[in-house]
Symmetry: C2
Subunit: 491 residues, 2 copies
C-alpha cells in the first residue's frame, strides 16, 4: 500500500487539514501540494536516517514539485535520501532546470542511473537544461545510438514538438518488414504481443501505429486492440492515413490539433514523412501550462527567453534584472516621446496649469482601453476565433466598442472634472479627449496583435508593452489639440 | 481512405501550400487550420448538393473549429449538409457556446440525435451554454436517469472538475457486487470483458478503476491489463489507494496533479469518497487552454466572466462593452487620485512648468516595473514555484531587483533630462524619483498577487489592472516630494 497512502499521510502529519482525519475513513481527496513539514523538520535536524524516513512518506512527484523552493543543498540532501527509482520519479516532476542543477551536485554514475529511469522526453528536457560541461561528464555513459537519438532531439528548437516527443512508440509493421528491428504484424494479437514483448521500450502505448516500412499508414487505439479478437486484421480496425505532425511543428499547434480532435497521442513524422515518434497529450498539457506562463511574462514586458525557464527562486538576480532591463529601457525611451509632446505644448501648460491635472488620467484610460482590446484579440487569436485576415472586421468591431465606451466614460469624466472646479470648457475638452482616445486606443490595440501575428512575431511579446507607450504620446497630442480648439485662452 | 486525406486535400485545393503537392507522395503533415475555401465557395453558390460535396472533403473537427468565424446562417447550412455522426463530431470541436447557438436553429429531434453522439463532458458543456428555453425544448427527450445525471453535472460551478468529468468510466467491482449494475471482477480477463461488453457506455478507458462496492480501491492502466495474462488477479497489478480528486476540485488543481504525476485520467470521488467518474487529460488540456485565455483577459482588465466564454465574433457588442466598462470605470475613478495629487502640487507646477514634462514618463516607468513584477509573481504562483507564505522572500527579492533596475534607469533618465535642457537639479530629481518609484512599484507588485492568492482571489483578475493605477498616484506623490527637496525654487 506504500505508493498510494502518501497524499493522505502527508496531510495528517502535516496537520494542514481542518479537523482531524478519521483513521477509519480513507480520504481519497488528493491535494495539489501536500504539506512537507516532516521533510523540513528532518532537514533541520540534520539526521540522515530521519530524512530518509520523512522522504519515504511522500510521493516522489510531490517532493519533486517542491524542489524549486529549496536551497540546492537541501535538494541534494533529499536526493541522497532517496533510492534511484523514486529519485528519478522526483526529478521527473521537478522543473528540468532544477533537475539539471541538482544533478550537477551528483556524481556521473548516479546521474546516469537516475536518467535511465526517465522517459525520453523528460530526459531530453533535463539534458537540454544542463551546461555543456555537465553534459560532457555524462555523455560517455551513453551508448552511441542512444547518444545519437538524444542529440537529434536536443537539436530541435525548444518550442518544437520534436523536443517533447519520444521515439519509443508502439509500432507495427504491416508489410513483411525488411528491417530486423521492426516485427511484421498483421493482427490485433500480433500488435499486443509486440507491446508485451517490448514493454520497456514503448513509452507511448495509447495508440498503436501501423506502418508500411517507415511510412505511417494507420492508427489503432490500444482500447480497440485490447477488446478485439486476436485474429482481427489491423487493416480492419485501424483509422487509415491518420493526422500526424512534422517534428518541427510548434507545440502550440500540436496542442491545438490534439485538443480539436480529442487525441491521446499524436504521431510525429520527419520531413520525408517517415514515422519517427509520438507525443502524448499529458506532455502537451505540461507544455501548454508552460506556454501560458511565458505568455503572462510577455504581457508584463519580461523577456521570457531569459527568465522564463528557471523557477522563480532559482533565477539569479542578475538574470532577473537582465530579463527586465531591455524592455524597461526600450519602453522608457519610447515613453520620452510624451515629454517631447508636453514640451511642445509648454506655453499651453503654463497658461492653464489645470490642463496638467488630467494628463495621467487621460493616458491611463487610453492605456487601459488599449490593453483590454489587445487582451481580447490575443485570446481570440490563441483560440483560433480570429485569423489575421479578419483584421478589418476586428478593427471595425473594436472601434465601435471604443466609441461606446468613450461616450460613457466621457460623460463621467465631464462631471468629475466639474466637481474639481475646473471651467466647463476644460471639462468638455477632457470628455471629448476621452472619447477620441478610447476609440484610437481600441483601433491601435486591435491592429498590433494581428500585425504581429502576420509578421510571425508572438503577439503576446510585443502587444501589451507597446500599446500603453504608443497610446500615451499620441493621447497627449490628441488632448492638447482638442484643448487648443475648445479651451478659452488657448486659441 | 476518406477520414484521413482531408488535411492534405484541403490544402491542395485551397492553394495555400507553397509549391504544388505531389499527388504520389502523401503529405502526412496535418495543419492546424486547413483552408476551407471549397466550403466558402459552395456556401456562396447556394447549391445544397455542392455544399454537401464540399463539406464531405473535410474532417468534421476542422469544420467545427471554423464555425465561430461564420454567421449563424452559414453554420446552419453546413449542419444541414452533414449527417448526424459527422455533425456531432463537428459540434464537439466547436466552442460549446457556438454549438448551443447552432442547435438553437435545429429542431428538437435532430438536436437530441446529435447530442446522443457526444461524450458526456461535451454534451454537458453544450447544454450548459443553452438558454433555459432551449433546454426545456429537449429535456423531454431524455430518460429520467439520464436527465438526473446531466442535471447533477450541470449543477457544478464551471471551474469545477465535476463539470468536465464523465460518469461513464471503466469500473470493476472486486467485491461480489450487490448492485446488479456493476459486474464483480477479479482478474484482468474479467476487466477486459467488462470493457468489451460495455464499449458504448465507457468513455474513459485508459485506466480501469477497481472498487469495493462504491469505494475506489485501486487503478490499473489499460496497457497493463492488455498485456497481462487473463488470469492475473487485479489485486496483483493494480496501484492501491490511488490519487483521486473530489468533484468540486478546481480544474487548475486537477491539471496540476495530472501534470505532476503524468496521469492519462484522474478518478473523481464525491464527498463520501464514492467513485463517481473520471476526467481525461485531453479534456484538462482544453480547460487549461481556456484558462490561459481567461488569464490573458484578466490581465487586460476585461471581465472574463461575461465575455470570456463566447468566441470573439459571436459576442454581442453590448456584452463586449459591459465586460470592459466595469473595470474601465473603476480604474478611471482610481486614476482620478492622480489629479488630486497634481492639484495638491498646483503651485509647484505653476512655478516650474518643466516638472510636468516628466509626469507620464515617471508613472509609465513605475507602471512598467510593477507589471513586470506582477507577471513574474503570477507565473511563479501558477507554476507552484512560489507559495503565499514565501511573501517576505519574494518582496525582498523584488525590492532588490527594483533598486538595481532603478539605479540603471535613473542614470539614463538623468542624462536624457539634461539633453532636454532642464536644470541639473530637476534632472537629478527625475533620476532619484525613478529609483524610488521602481523600488516601490516592485514592492507593491510583489505583494498584490500574493495577497490576492491568500485572500482566495484569482491574482490575474486584480493584479495587472490595479498595479498601474496604484503606482500612478503614489508615484506622483513621490515625484513632487522629491522635487520639493531637490529642485531650486520649490523649497
Amino acid at each position: 500500500m506504500a505508493a498510494g497512502v502518501v497524499g493522505r499521510r502527508g496531510f495528517a502529519e502535516g496537520g494542514a487539514m481542518s479537523g482531524a482525519p478519521d483513521a477509519d475513513e480513507p480520504v481519497h481527496n488528493a491535494v495539489p501540494i501536500p504539506d512537507l513539514a516532516p521533510v523540513d523538520a528532518a532537514l533541520k535536524s540534520g539526521d540522515p536516517a530521519a530524512l530518509k524516513a520523512a522522504v519515504k512518506q511522500f510521493r516522489p512527484a510531490d517532493l519533486g514539485r517542491d524542489l524549486s523552493r529549496r536551497p540546492i543543498e537541501e535538494d541534494r540532501a533529499i536526493l541522497d535520501a532517496i533510492d534511484d527509482r523514486r529519485g528519478a520519479a522526483m526529478l521527473r516532476a521537478a522543473h528540468p532546470v532544477v533537475a539539471a542543477q541538482l544533478l550537477g551536485q551528483v556524481d556521473a554514475p548516479r546521474t546516469c542511473r537516475l536518467l535511465a529511469f526517465l522517459p525520453t522526453d523528460h530526459e531530453v528536457a533535463i539534458l537540454g537544461a544542463m551546461s555543456p560541461d555537465q553534459r560532457a561528464r555524462i555523455d560517455s555513459a551513453y551508448a552511441p545510438d542512444e547518444k545519437a537519438t538524444i542529440d537529434r532531439l536536443l537539436a530541435y528548437p525548444e518550442s518544437a514538438i520534436g523536443r517533447i516527443m519520444t521515439p519509443k512508440i508502439w509500432r507495427c509493421d504491416r508489410s513483411s518488414g525488411e528491417s530486423p528491428l521492426r516485427a511484421a504484424a498483421r493482427t490485433a494479437g500480433d500488435a499486443l504481443d509486440i507491446l508485451r514483448m517490448n514493454a520497456d521500450d514503448i513509452e507511448v502505448a495509447v495508440n498503436c501505429y501501423v506502418c508500411d516500412g517507415p511510412k505511417l499508414v494507420g492508427v489503432v487505439p490500444l482500447r480497440v486492440l485490447a477488446t478485439s479478437d486476436r485474429d482481427t486484421p489491423l487493416d480492419q480496425v485501424m483509422t487509415p492515413d491518420p493526422i500526424a505532425v512534422r517534428e518541427d511543428t510548434a507545440r502550440s499547434d500540436a496542442a491545438d490539433i490534439i485538443n480539436t480532435h480529442d487525441f491521446l497521442s499524436l504521431p510525429v513524422v520527419d520531413a520525408r514523412g517517415d514515422l519517427i515518434g509520438a507525443v502524448r497529450v499529458d506532455d502537451l498539457l505540461g507544455a501548454a501550462l508552460d506556454a501560458a506562463g511565458t505568455g503572462i511574462l510577455n504581457q508584463g514586458a519580461v523577456s521570457g527567453k531569459l527568465a522564463g525557464r528557471a523557477p522563480y527562486f532559482l533565477t539569479s538576480l542578475a538574470r532577473t534584472v537582465r530579463s527586465r532591463l531591455t524592455w524597461l529601457i526600450l519602453l522608457f525611451v519610447a515613453e520620452t516621446a510624451t515629454g517631447t509632446v508636453l514640451r511642445y505644448f509648454e506655453d499651453e501648460l503654463a497658461k492653464v496649469v489645470a490642463l496638467s491635472f488630467f494628463v495621467p488620467l487621460l493616458i491611463g484610460t487610453g492605456g487601459n482601453a488599449g490593453s483590454q482590446t489587445v487582451s481580447t484579440v490575443i485570446r481570440a487569436l490563441a483560440l483560433g476565433d480570429v485569423r489575421t485576415r479578419d483584421v478589418l472586421r476586428v478593427v471595425r468591431r473594436e472601434v465601435t466598442a471604443g466609441i461606446l465606451l468613450g461616450l460613457l466614460l466621457g460623460v463621467i469624466a465631464f462631471f468629475r472634472a466639474l466637481l474639481w472646479g475646473v471651467h466647463s470648457d476644460l471639462a468638455m475638452c477632457v470628455a471629448v479627449t476621452i472619447l477620441v482616445v478610447c476609440t484610437w486606443a481600441n483601433a491601435v490595440g486591435a491592429t498590433i496583435p494581428l500585425a504581429a501575428q502576420r509578421l510571425g512575431i508572438d503577439p503576446t511579446v510585443v502587444s501589451a508593452p507597446l500599446i500603453t507607450t504608443l497610446v500615451d504620446a499620441s493621447g497627449l497630442f490628441i488632448y492638447f489639440s482638442v484643448a487648443h480648439l475648445m479651451v478659452a485662452g488657448l486659441h
